[in-house]
Subunit: 316 residues, 2 copies
Amino acid sequence: MNPIVPEFTDIENAHQIVQKYAHRTPILTSKSIDEIVGGELHFKCENFQKVGAFKFRGACNAVFSLSADDAQKGVATHSSGNHAAALALAARMRGVAAHIVMPENSPEIKKRAVAEYGANITFCKPTLQARESTLAKVVAETGATEIHPYNNFNVISGQGTAAKELIEDAGEFDIIIVPVGGGGLLSGTAISTKKLLPNCKVIAAEPAGADDAFKSFKSKILVPSENPKTIADGLLTSLGELNFAIILDKVDDIITVSEESIVTAMRIIWERMKIIIEPSSAVPLAAIIEGKIDFKNKKVGIILSGGNLDLGRLPF
Amino acid sequence: MNPIVPEFTDIENAHQIVQKYAHRTPILTSKSIDEIVGGELHFKCENFQKVGAFKFRGACNAVFSLSADDAQKGVATHSSGNHAAALALAARMRGVAAHIVMPENSPEIKKRAVAEYGANITFCKPTLQARESTLAKVVAETGATEIHPYNNFNVISGQGTAAKELIEDAGEFDIIIVPVGGGGLLSGTAISTKKLLPNCKVIAAEPAGADDAFKSFKSKILVPSENPKTIADGLLTSLGELNFAIILDKVDDIITVSEESIVTAMRIIWERMKIIIEPSSAVPLAAIIEGKIDFKNKKVGIILSGGNLDLGRLPF
């Protein structure tokens, strides 16, 4: 049986919520990058989103979609990344508790960000098993609703609002490219794009060192991520089941890129556009630089997924 | 005798030219920075300007204000910084030659930027004397018009368009703060601001390690910069005479800041706003952080002067 996945009307409903709390982020272009690559690129800047990442859209929709009864028991997740901060802020905006399970070895900067948003943090050993068992305990004790970072109907619907805005604000596209990790952004983007622009291709870019989505897409069997290794630390996770079903149905292609191209693409965006993006955000431009997409004379939309990274540990 | 300085009508005329070729840069705000400092800050993002700095405004106005006869002989300057790139691009846009004298020890990245804009580069020894004598020779040989980076009527008029846009787009301000090096941006900002918002204070922020403007302003005697030392490499120059006359007449105060505050302010803007600014741009926020300006509950405009720096040599 196929899982129940969001449709575009779910994204429209999510947008009613998301636009009340999130930024409608700007779409930037760069003549200088267009000259380098020979195409027309439009960058949707989710690095300027609240908490510095698109993740706020999905977290916001999930938190504000809860019934009053469920909401007052709070929300919970395990995450060491942008989803934790996003869920913490969305919960604070609704005035409910956020319970975040974080591996004890999470970077200090991320622990601080989540704490600043007022979340209750529970630390655990840095293994998936410890994260899941600790979260189960927290949920049992509090009655909080678990909000998975990407394998969640309302999260996917929320993430789909980024592509919806991109198309509403910048018109038609030939290709839209996004990075893929767990597949929340990719699946939401595919639903919005295929509804609004049926002829636009939706392509995912993935680090070769974390190519579970590529393998899954090509084999049509969900392959978990095994010892992934990439500077794009937002893309280490395995695809979710809901996301995979949507991706198989609606995504045109998934292509992989090298670490070197990711760093080159990141540096080009920093230097030419004067904006800060995290490595995950650079993966789509890396795919263009590697020449793996036929985008010459095409209008291309790219979602820059976020801008959170440790400035003391840059790759250049 | 007082020198002839631009008035606001000159800035209005400059704007007719500048707006045809330059970006009307966005004005960004940051709730998170407002919370840290306790004021309402509006940042005019000249780091997003062409060539990555406000300098393009002045260069553009100077180049396009030349008569056809003068223009066809080209323009010339000595500079190792943003003005060189700005003049080169403005000249290319008008289809005339730019002759740039650069010290032979200029950073490779700056040499490349100027060369990419198609300028004729003449290298010289890295002394002011060599720069001036080499420029004189180039001007004698080519008949090009020298465009000084800041001590120039049309350059000042062009730089004043940034504050004009800031006020037109974001309304009234209590205080506008800009960094001061040679004084081009400061003098242009003061002319626009005092005309459009007579009650708004115009304050300059300057690194303590390059405090010639501070000393000149306090003593009312033009004091040249002596062995200046600061990470804010756009602010090493001495005030120009034209600029100083305007500054004495229209600027409310000049305050100095430490190197440590500049780096802290720069990091705050990078981390919270996800935009790349060069150290010079961080000097106004450094003044706010140091508590040297009474800005609580005030609406403050800051011009972020540029975003060009070597990403391989960051101070954090």
